[in-house]
Structure formats: structure tokens, C-alpha cells
């Protein structure tokens, strides 16, 4: 029994070593259509961050932002590499639409704040 266990461990190790080595040998350098299109327009987002790193970063961020761990992978799989590297940089700051449309209310509140001198927003307009 013990021998069988040892043997199977050895096989598993061999298999994992082989699988580690093989992609380098056989990997085709096919260029995806999206990569090609972005290269044509010299997209600034192209491979700024490696897709692998970006994916890991976005995965952590999503969990930190309260996304159910069982859903994170599916959400990552729906994103392109360029989107992942963009999200890795701005998931905390990119516009997140959520409010009920109370158009004007916030505006009026800010107007009042401006009037009593709590804030001075106008100066920052371009």
C-alpha cells in the first residue's frame, strides 16, 4: 500500500514536470484579432501590465469590494486582457453607476453648500 502511494506520487511529479515544460515547446504565437486591431491603433492600454498580474490584482480587488468568491472567476473570464489591465489600475476610481436618478437634488445641495461657502467648486471648472 505504501509502495503504491510512493509510486503514484512519483508519477504525479513526473506528470507535473512534463506539463510544466511542454507549453514552452508547443505554444503557438497566434495573434488574436483584438490584439491586432489594438496594435493598429497603437492602443496605450496594450499590455501595460501583464495580463496574468492584472488578473490576480483584479481578483483580489473584486473580493475586497465584496464580490462573492464563487462569482469572481466567471467575472474575470468575461474581461479582455486590456480591460483587466485597465481595471487593475482603476477599479476603485472608475465611475460606478448606481444611484436612483434623483437628478437635480445633489446639484441643489451643492449649490447651497457653495452659497454658504463650505465648498468652492466653480474654480475647478476648466
Amino acid at each position: 500500500m505504501k509502495r503504491l502511494l510512493q509510486k503514484s506520487i512519483v508519477y504525479v511529479l513526473i506528470a507535473s514536470l512534463v506539463s510544466l515544460a511542454s507549453p514552452a515547446v508547443a505554444q503557438a504565437q497566434m495573434i488574436g484579432t483584438l490584439t491586432g486591431l489594438r496594435a493598429v491603433e497603437r492602443d496605450a492600454n496594450l499590455a501595460k501590465v501583464s495580463a496574468v498580474l492584472a488578473r490576480a490584482e483584479v481578483r483580489d480587488q473584486m473580493k475586497a469590494l465584496g464580490v462573492d468568491a464563487t462569482l469572481v472567476e466567471a467575472r474575470l473570464a468575461a474581461l479582455t486582457d486590456a480591460e483587466l489591465s485597465q481595471l487593475a489600475q482603476n477599479i476603485d476610481s472608475a465611475p460606478a453607476g448606481g444611484v436612483l436618478a434623483v437628478i437635480g437634488v445633489v446639484f441643489i445641495v451643492l449649490l447651497i453648500l457653495e452659497a454658504v461657502g463650505v465648498i468652492d467648486i466653480f474654480k475647478k471648472f476648466p
Partner: protein, 340 residues
Amino acid sequence: MIQAPRGASAPLVLSSEPRAVRSAFYSFFTLVLLALTGCATHRNALDPTAVAHLPRRVELTDTPFYPQEAYQCGPAALATVLRSADVAVTPDELTPEVFLPGRKGSLAVELIAATRQRDRLAYRLDPDPRAILEELAAGRPVLVMQNVALKIVPTWHFAVVIGYDLDAQTFTLRSGTIERLVMSTRGFLRTWDLADRWAMVALKPGELPATPDMHKYMTAAAELEAIGRLEAAKQAYETAREQWPNSAWPVLGLANVQHAGGDLRGAEESYRAALAIEPDNIVANNNLAELLLARGCLDEARAFAARALKHATGTPLEQATLSTVTKLEQATPRSEAECR
């Protein structure tokens, strides 16, 4: 030419305190004025000649309405446009895919991603009000992002534009809990302006937008390919090929999808067809070289790989083409008999 005397600016800086008070007053005054006029700017006006060919009034009354719950305007708005593109989905089903609890909202990029996951093209419109009108006139509701507060204190919102009225100068939206929100053109365009004029429609793969742009359409299709929705990507590429027969990109996209699906013969034919249109296309040259290498046709592969590298030098594709060339150099020569 008006030349400001150098000395003139100095006193302004020195007397900063009363000036700050005064400028705050002017700021407030201008802000009130802006509020009263609805922040009228020239660029917000619709050019009458540009929309002369459109119906004066459109309202897509059949568009479903999902009143949003809490912060779920993203899922609600997305479900609305997806329904209109024949995808049976509810906001509740979309929430786990697009809602970020920590941000109390949804990001535009995830709405795009969820659209793709359902085999629909997420086609981003030009940042031009006319683009919205064109889509509405073609019967498609438009998902828009709005900033309903101020530029520096933004409050982001997703809604669906379902109609416009050129005479009354209004837009009609499915928004939040309001089934039929009528906004003045000025008011709507102000909120849209402040959200960088973000707008998209969901297209079925065989469908073209009202004013199709090849690069935008191909990008949306290629995004389907990139996340593995190959069948939908293929349909979109075929639609694109009919629309833009003189471009290599739709055929090239088709080739890539065929290759990814294991149809090597079909892929080779399509790569060659793409190169017949655009002999210097880097991607087509590189990928055909890879395909020929796999078939054992080294000589022919080297020619295509060399051409790919030549045109890729200095572009983001240089590395990929270089590694194809290197791989071909290292490949063991086999007899040409193997090339079949």
C-alpha cells in the same frame, strides 16, 4: 493682439484675500446662472441639418421596464437593452455579474462584459448625440451613463434612452424607478456630457449598428473572440465581411476563429484570402506562418514570418512576430513531403 502688461498681474496676487471673496461671489453667481440656463453650451445643441433625415419623434414604447432596486441601476438598465436584443434575462440574474458591493454600483466595463457573455456585441456609440438618435430611429434603445450631479462631485447613473422628440426638444428614458422620464435635451446632454458621453447598444451577431464603423464593429466582434465566444464572433465577422468586403480584418477574424475551432484548412484559406486583400497585414502573415509551421511547410512559413516581422518592427506586435521567426529558425528541417 492684446498684450497683458507684466506688472499688471502682480497686484492681483498680492491682494489675494478680498479677491478670493469676490471670486467666490462671482463663482456662485455664475453657477446660479448656469443652473437657470440648464448649463447651456453650444456643443449641446443638436445640429438640425445633421438630423434632418431622421423622424421628428421616436419612442420605443415596447422597451421593457425594470424598476431598479437600491443601487442596481446597472443591472436594470442592462437587462432592458439585452431584452431588446432578444436575450431573456432579468436584472436579478445580472446583479451577481455586474454589481460591485464595495462601490455601490456597476462599472461600464462589466456591463460590456456581461453583454458579451450573452453573445451580443457591446457596440460603443460615437460621443455624439446624433449617434443616439440614429440608433433610436433604427429601433434600438441605447444604454447611457450619466453624471447626475457635478463634474467634481460625480454621481453616476445608468439609464436607457428609448425616445426623442426634436420639436419638443426632449429625450425619453427608462431611468431608475421612473418608467417614462422625459428630460429636456439640454438637461439630458448635460448629464451625458459629464459622463464622457458613454453610450452603447447591444447588437445580435448578425446585426449592424445604424451608422456602422468598421473599426468599432470589429473591435466589439474581436472582444467576443477574445473571451472565447467563438460562434458569435464568427457570425459577427461574416456580417462585417459583407459590409466591408475591401478590408482584410473581417476575413482575418474569421480565420482566427476557424483556427481556434480546429478548422485548420478553412483557417488557412481565410488567412490567404485576408492576405490577398492586404498583403502586408502583420497578423495574417504571422498566423499563417504558425499554421504552416504546424503543417511542416517550413519554407513557406519562413517567408510569411519574415514579412510579418518586417512590418511589425516598432509596433506592439514585434515581440510576437519575432518569436515566430525564432521558432522557425530552430525548427528541425523535415522533408517537404511532410508539408501537405
